[in-house]
């Protein structure tokens, strides 16, 4: 009884903070840096291949590079590799476009049992949706401001 009383004097938030293992920011940041950097180096290899063997210009090679990175990420997600690796890498695997593709494939896969339309179709953008919504809205306003400045 006295133990419960002692607990109740702490707020729930304090209790949670007390029991949450310390997440060393420095270690997490170092992991994110190395993994994120490595994914970008892989992307750089893909871009160089497009320029060298498919004769794209450096700028034109950007889009197919992103598409290939997306494909690699979806394959890794389907094999169940990406999510395990994401727990270790944190933002290093979430921030690259591979993380975006991963959320779409993972959400679709997770809800596959609910059916083609509601399950897969309805949930594919469950996690990626906010990125698309706020990306488009912010891009619209940035472009409008840009347009107004140019045409004033």
């Amino acid at each position: 009884m006295s133990a419960t009383k002692g607990l109740s004097s702490l707020t729930y938030k304090q209790l949670v903070e007390h029991h949450t293992p310390a997440q060393p920011i420095l270690r997490n940041t170092a992991r994110a840096f190395v993994v994120g950097g490595a994914i970008c180096v892989l992307g750089q290899f893909v871009q160089v291949l497009f320029v060298r063997y498919a004769h794209f210009s450096v700028t034109d090679a950007g889009n197919p590079t992103v598409a290939v990175m997306v494909l690699l990420s979806v394959i890794a997600t389907a094999l169940g590799v990406y999510d395990r690796f994401a727990q270790w890498a944190g933002a290093g695997s979430a921030v690259p476009v591979t993380g975006f593709a991963n959320t779409m494939a993972a959400a679709a896969l997770e809800h596959k049992s609910e059916g083609w339309i509601v399950g897969i179709g309805g949930n594919m953008f469950k996690l990626a949706g906010p990125v698309v919504v706020y990306g488009v809205v912010s891009a619209f306003f940035v472009a409008v401001i840009h347009y107004i400045i140019i045409h004033l």
Binding site: F33, G37, A38, V74, P96, V97, F100, M124
Partner: protein, 120 residues
Amino acid sequence: MIPWTTFIWAFLVGGAICAIGQIIMDVSKWTPGHVMVVLVVAGAILDGLGWYDPLIRFAGAGALVPITSFGNALVHGAMLEAHQHGWIGLITGIFEVTSAGISAAIIFAFLATLVAKPRG
């Protein structure tokens, strides 16, 4: 041609963007979803200021692969169409450049769902 030093800059710049995302995540306790939204908006604003293209020229995939480039590409598409067709391009052009990323993600994710089994 792409100089080999681009590989080093791709690692450093791409790593730095992810490190910034991780710091935001750890300090604010936000989910990765929140961080991705912040970075996409940041990419759009940086392109509006004209700072993202120089970064891509310099760091290559280090600036192309992080999600910030999605915001950048959305603004690029809108501006491209606006230059060609006037103000209506601001609406019609938004997905012009990003089609590769979005379409590839939808198509590949769908195909993967056909063949793969969900994992706990």
